[in-house]
């Protein structure tokens, strides 16, 4: 993900597809693993861990959407609704049947995958903006259904309280403990996506995206792979919903409305469509940027304004700065933060002996 040698020296398919093309890549990975698993949880305050937790959840969701939008080229505005499907499935199972999270989590994912595949059926006939509207309808139908079927939503409030997840009697109830819980699933999602994309299925997705007629001619079953892409993407969404539910202790469909679907689309577009690292960058960017801007403006703004005036100024300008930065990054690199990162990297690949 992070390193490449200074030229193309590969002689076998195996080396071309390796996750770690260089020994240093492996070491970077080990370094990152140590950083996230040991160093950060020990050194960071709970507040910073809580931000990381939000980022981990967002990473899983962004990866899922990127499989569908970035790799397979099928646009979806229903990602938030698929999360709510996972969330309510897990919450109902956890509360009514008392199942532990390691059963409710895959169950939530599978249920979302099933619903996602259903919503994805129109993708067999329509593309682009038309598909966006079809999935938008899916989002609204799912929201409406949850709101109006008490058997799913658990009553007028449409929210179900779930107990904290526990593993062998060890209750995950602090930010520090939830950190490992969420880190595990975020890491799992990253590894799974990296591997999925170098498998037969991943190559089929990319073929469908690049030219679906050509893909069909070379023997890819469009029907199967489009729906599979919807299902896998929704599985990730469902898991994201379950993670949210356990993180908050409550399933509530108002947390997964249309705005959330759009936030996730923004993440992958800014991060970079069709890249794992881009999904991660996007999730970090969208989650962290508002916080960073606010902190910065509070510090700078307190020189000019009193505290109560500042609150008004900060919220107003924060939105403008947030939007401005998104435009800025997309203008300097339309292919997203991942491409920006690759540009930096390829500059240094031959540095200081560039042409």
């Amino acid at each position: 993900m992070f390193h490449r040698e200074a030229g193309v020296f590969k002689t076998t398919y195996a080396s071309d597809m390796a996750l770690y093309p260089l020994p240093i890549a492996k070491w970077t990975m080990i370094g990152l693993a140590v950083l996230f698993a040991i160093v950060l949880p020990i050194t960071l305050q709970e507040y910073y861990l809580s931000i990381l937790n939000l980022i981990f959840i967002a990473v899983v969701g962004a990866l899922g959407l990127n499989i569908l939008v970035g790799y397979t080229g099928q646009i979806s505005l229903g990602h938030g609704a698929f999360m709510s499907v996972g969330a309510y499935t897990a919450a109902n199972l956890a509360v009514r049947l008392g199942l532990p999270f390691w059963l409710t989590l895959p169950a939530g994912g599978l249920m979302a995958a099933f619903i996602g595949a259903l919503v994805g059926i129109p993708s067999l006939r329509i593309k682009g903006l038309y598909l966006a509207i079809a999935t938008l309808a899916g989002q609204l139908i799912i929201e409406w259904t949850i709101n109006h079927v008490p058997a799913i939503s658990g009553g007028a409030q449409a929210s179900i309280q779930v107990p904290r997840p526990d593993l062998f009697g060890f209750v995950l109830n602090t930010q520090g403990r939830l950190y490992y819980f969420l880190l595990f699933f975020a890491a799992l999602a990253i590894v799974a996506t990296l591997n999925l994309m170098r498998s037969r299925i991943g190559r089929a997705f990319i073929a469908v995206r690049d030219q679906d007629i050509a893909a069909e001619i070379i023997g890819i079953d469009i029907f199967r792979y489009k729906l599979l892409s919807f299902a896998i993407s929704s599985f990730y969404a469902g898991v994201t919903g379950v993670l949210y539910t356990y993180y908050l202790g409550i399933a509530n469909y108002e947390q997964f409305q249309l705005g959330v679907s759009i936030d996730f689309l923004a993440m992958i577009i800014i991060g970079g469509l069709g890249s794992v690292l881009g999904s991660i960058f996007g999730a970090i960017f969208i989650t962290l940027l508002p916080i960073a801007i606010r902190t910065l403006m509070e510090n700078v703004g307190s020189l000019f304004f009193s505290d109560s005036e500042l609150a008004n100024v900060v919220s107003g300008t924060r939105l403008a700065v947030f939007g401005g930065l998104i435009i800025f990054f997309l203008v300097i690199e339309p292919e997203g933060l991942n491409r920006l990162w690759r540009n930096v990297r390829s500059y240094f690949r031959v540095w200081p002996f560039s042409y």
Binding site: E46, Y47, N147, Q175, I250, E254, S308, A311, S315, W351
Partner: protein, 415 residues
């Protein structure tokens, strides 16, 4: 390459240590209040007025020397009515050592209920959140501190009863926003319809609530109710006023829940003149005729500034004052109970549970918060549009309190 990486590592380390340093500041004789607000999201019309009210009350208090010698610092975070920023805000308040926090938004309150309990920091949710949170035993750290939607439903029916001189055989229409908050009062209304013998029909308005022509036509021309209760949010209340008026329904037979009852809603519907007779439920006093508001104007004057324009929107501004005043009283009780020392967040919770007889000259209801009742009794007032402004038509009252309590007990049993 190596040098490049090292430089970045150095920078990252520097940034990290900076973040640590800034959080290490601690001041004595200062208490931190966390306050969530929505100044830019879908309910910005509320937040941009309510939040300045909150700040002005705290500023006024600080200018008079604070509460029992403690200055108060408000850490405000705009959650944009989104859940993840609300979580982040709560964690930041915790880091800053906030002794309590003001929540904002129903889904946000739902998402934080459990965290508040685990972290032992009380959160207030005046006018939103779930009605069941009035039960302090089930939600120990969540404080609605104002009439819940259940209490508002009881009050609306009681007001209708008074206006019509009895409910038997009457027809009441309930026009509501089709979301969990909008549906919440339904069990109360259905129960009252049965026990009081009136006919209830419900009309849902889908989000975003700006299109309700067919519902209002149904109400006015088909159902022809004797009274209409509306429970709408955002832009929807003004649309409902306009539609009902336009279709010829007398607004004097309409009563709105607390989020459809601000001056801004009425003005946006075409002005106070058009909405003559429109009844609104309020959980804080309306208007500028309160000593505390005059003190705030005087405070601004002393600083050589004009009074803030938000003050003209008295409904929301005064709710901000209510929120701030109750926060301060909770802390005051806690400090007194501790003999003048800085209280912990758990002690502030106890302080909040012992607020009684504090009304700020009528701006607050005669509420009493107890360990069992975090709603304070569910008091409301009715204010009616008359002669170009809101006038008080019914003083503080509790509508069908026994029915509400019965439902709270049943709900507690169920879980």
């Amino acid at each position: 390459m190596v040098r490049f990486e090292r430089r970045w590592l150095g920078l990252a380390a520097a940034a990290g240590s900076l973040a640590f340093a800034s959080s290490a500041f601690a001041q004595s004789k200062e208490l931190v209040f966390g306050f969530q607000c929505d100044r830019t999201g879908p309910t910005a019309t509320v937040g941009t007025v309510l939040c300045p009210g909150y700040h002005d009350y705290i500023d006024l208090l600080n200018s008079k020397g604070g509460v029992e010698g403690f200055k108060i610092k408000v850490d405000e975070i705009d959650n944009e009515y989104k859940v993840p920023p609300a979580i982040e805000a709560h964690e930041r308040f915790k880091k800053e050592g906030a002794v309590l926090e003001g929540l904002y938004g129903t889904p946000q309150t739902a998402a934080l209920n459990k965290k508040l309990e685990e972290d032992k920091i009380l959160g207030t949710s005046p006018g939103f959140g779930t009605a069941a949170a009035a039960d302090g035993k089930r939600f120990p750290y969540t404080f609605p501190i104002a009439a819940s939607y259940w209490s508002q439903a009881g009050a609306a029916v009681e007001f209708a009863k008074e206006k019509m001189g009895g409910l038997k055989g009457k027809k009441i229409a309930y026009l509501f926003y089709d979301n969990p908050a909008g549906k919440e009062p339904l069990p109360i209304l259905e129960d009252l319809a049965k026990s009081e013998g009136f006919d209830l029909r419900t009309f849902a308005v889908p989000a975003p609530g700006v299109e309700m022509g067919s519902q209002v036509t149904d109400i006015v021309q088909r159902y022809k109710p004797d009274f209409v209760i509306t429970h709408l949010f955002g832009r929807a209340p003004s649309v409902s006023i306009k539609e009902l008026k336009g279709k010829g329904y007398p607004l004097s037979k309409v009563v709105a829940f607390v989020w459809g009852s601000a001056e801004a809603d009425i003005v946006a519907a075409g002005g106070m003149g058009l909405a003559e007779g429109y009844n609104t439920l309020q959980f804080a006093g309306v208007g500028k005729d309160f000593p505390v508001l005059k003190d705030i104007v005087a405070m601004y004057k002393a600083a050589g500034k004009p009074a803030p324009k938000e003050m003209d929107s008295t409904v929301y501004y005064n709710r901000g004052i209510l929120n701030a005043a109750l926060h301060v009283e909770a802390v005051r009780n806690a400090i007194k109970a501790k003999g003048g020392a800085a209280p912990t967040s758990e002690e502030v919770k106890n302080g909040m549970e012992h607020i009684k007889g504090f009304t700020l000259d009528g701006l607050l209801p005669p509420m009493e918060l107890t360990p069992a009742d975090h709603e304070g009794g569910g008091w409301v007032q009715v204010w009616t549009v008359h002669g170009g402004k809101l006038n008080k038509t019914k003083d503080w009252f509790q509508g069908y309190r026994s029915v509400i309590l019965k439902h709270l007990a049943a709900d507690a049993q169920k879980s």
